[in-house]
């Protein structure tokens, strides 16, 4: 079977503009989730992880004029540029595919009626993907995966399939989402936001923290230009239960995990959970993990560091998880102190070294969707 390698990656969040910068902050126990009073984003104060605008535009200026690109586009371009700078893969050919994972893209343009510079057409996700395609001269028409909070994980699984099928040699997968008034007001109306940095799997967790960010993973079928981490098969599954609430039995996530483990046939050393820190999500994940017989496998959530980055989450968290896998170093679950889930899974409470060969990334989202994806050395 054709193997799929990770050639290069990037993470941009409040904790940094590249992968190593983010990891170093996480290892030192720094959270990027802060208290904000910003009337443009919310009538009420809120807690969230926001990318520093001054630094973003500063960095973007090295590539192009920040006034001509939306914040979303700047995040995507900075992320792709950084990932490309660390690989010698030639993306110009017709054997390279670009996949954008996002839930809401340039959605803030909808509320920007006064704006004369940006066209309303830019709110469409296909438009955003085409703009990025043209910017980087990808010769093939890009794909957009917009599948709620599993978009990022799903996009990597789709990209790996495209290489395995022989249609493409390289796939650039980029996940981006922003903290906007649109999203903040929506999650607020659901009363699912924590009043402080979120606490995944903790007894006192009350909700999620929103975050924004961008992540890129460059997949390749060519082992010569790659590091040591490979992307295995990934699967999704729907709960067929409720459009906004997780299944009590963890049915969809359990099926996604089961199918992924069966197809890959490898033992698991580590699980990077979705871990949004809402009472129901974390409980559901612990049920699914236990049903799959994985309760002894170390599990963490990165969301206490950079919040829930929605469609980008699957990409930025996969990058962080594969970093852990490469360095044999597990990162603690920021915000987790006292176990607070019915099924006693093994939540990682402190940074620890561990020899690892495999890692499972899981995610769940609105619409009852769930996904699992294996990475291995």
């Amino acid at each position: 079977m054709k193997e799929v390698y990770i050639a290069s990656d990037n993470i941009i969040t409040s904790l940094g503009f590249n992968t190593v910068g983010n990891i170093e902050n996480m290892l030192s126990g720094t959270t990027g989730i802060r208290y904000w009073e910003d009337g443009r984003l919310s009538p009420e104060p809120f807690w969230a992880s926001l990318v520093d605008t001054e630094e973003l535009t500063g960095r973007f200026s090295a590539f192009n004029n920040p006034e001509k690109f939306t914040r979303f586009e700047q995040l995507a371009i900075c992320s792709i540029e950084d990932a490309l700078s660390a690989t010698d893969i030639d993306i110009a050919g017709d054997r390279t595919l670009f996949i954008l994972a996002t839930t809401k893209g340039n959605i803030s343009l909808l509320g920007d009626g006064q704006s004369t510079f940006f066209k309303q057409e830019q709110v469409y996700l296909w438009h955003t993907a085409r703009l990025l395609q043209q910017y980087f001269n990808f010769s093939q028409k890009p794909y957009v995966v917009s599948n709620a909070c599993i978009s990022g994980v799903l996009a990597i699984a789709v990209g790996a399939r495209m290489i395995r099928s022989g249609y493409y040699d390289h796939v650039v997968v980029t996940g981006v989402d922003m903290v906007t008034e649109f999203v903040l007001s929506g999650f607020n109306s659901f009363r699912s936001l924590e009043s402080g940095p979120c606490k995944p799997f903790d007894r006192d967790r009350q909700g999620l923290s929103l975050g924004e960010g961008a992540g890129t993973i460059i997949l390749t079928g060519s082992p010569l230009s790659a590091g040591g981490i490979r992307t295995g098969y990934g699967f999704s599954s729907n709960d067929a239960n409720h459009i906004s609430g997780p299944s009590r039995t963890g049915e969809g996530l359990y099926i996604a995990i089961r199918n992924t483990l069966e197809k890959n046939g490898l033992l698991l050393d580590y699980i990077s959970a979705h871990g949004t820190a809402t009472p129901y999500n974390d409980e559901m994940e612990s049920v699914a993990i236990t049903r799959a017989g994985l309760q002894e496998v170390p599990v963490n959530s990165f969301k206490g560091f950079w919040g829930h980055t929605l469609g980008a989450a699957g990409v930025v968290e996969s990058v962080a998880a594969t970093y852990s896998l490469a360095k044999n170093l597990l990162i603690k679950t920021q915000g987790f102190e006292t176990p607070g889930i019915t099924n006693p899974i093994h939540v990682i409470g402190a940074n620890v070294e561990k020899e690892m060969r495999t890692c499972l990334k899981i995610a769940s989202g609105f619409g009852g969707c769930n996904a699992a994806l294996l990475f291995y050395k």
């Binding site: 809401k104 509320g111 469409y124 794909y143 789709v158 929506g186 659901f190 619409g367």
Partner: protein
């Protein structure tokens, strides 16, 4: 003789005030609004599913196309729920409900964001609604494209079928943007389970069905 492994067993098209299944017009309406037309379809086919009335128009459109597509298909007797996939695409994502949600937050003195609206600001909710209705638990993905591209859709669905992630797939295009709407769904099955499909599962056939006059 080589047998093609997958067939299009049925298709359903909803556009221009008509509902067409496998080439036959099943319903025509002179309703002047999208919402009115969708309700008329629901009534015409005698569907009884109270959750329908809570859905946004995009979900109603996809739900109704799936109802018509799957009528008499006996999928439950042929496949486990986790072997039925839903791979859909459109151009506008959930833009209609996005605009509604945006309206609810555009005025600070009249600020009324609602969870029952916000949950529909994701295109893949239509997949969730169809899965809930039919207990489908299989592989699902929502793609966004400027226009329907049967070749690319076929390529991904074929891979899923070939690696046996799924054995049956509902795939196609469910688009709604203000007063413009179009649903074209295909039911793809394994030819050894369903040998009498109406067409081979291939991009040219998908395109021919999509481009037919309705």
């Amino acid at each position: 003789m080589m047998v093609d492994p997958f067939v299009i067993s049925d298709y359903c098209i909803i556009r221009q005030n008509r509902v067409v299944k496998n080439g036959n017009t099943l319903h025509e309406s002179d309703e002047t609004t999208v919402a009115g037309f969708l309700t008329a379809i629901y009534r015409h086919f005698g569907i009884n599913y109270p959750k329908f009335h809570k859905m946004d128009n995009l979900c109603k459109l996809g739900f109704l196309a799936a109802e018509v597509l799957l009528n008499h298909s006996n999928l439950k007797e042929r496949y486990h729920g986790d072997k039925v996939g839903l791979i859909l695409a459109n151009a506008a994502s959930s833009i209609d409900t996005d605009r509604n949600h945006q309206l609810s937050i555009s005025n600070r003195l009249d600020y009324f964001p609602s969870p029952s609206v916000f949950v529909y600001t994701l295109a893949n909710i239509v997949i969730g609604e169809i899965c809930i209705r039919h207990a489908f638990l299989g592989e699902s993905t929502f793609f966004i494209e400027k226009s329907f591209d049967p070749g690319r859709m076929h390529h991904y669905v074929y891979q899923l079928l070939e690696e046996e992630a799924i054995q049956c797939c509902i795939t196609g295009w469910v688009e709604l943007d203000s007063d413009r709407y179009e649903a074209v769904l295909y039911l793809v099955q394994k030819s050894d389970i369903h040998p009498d499909g109406i067409a081979i599962f291939e991009p040219a056939k998908m395109n021919e069905i999509y481009l037919q006059r309705t």
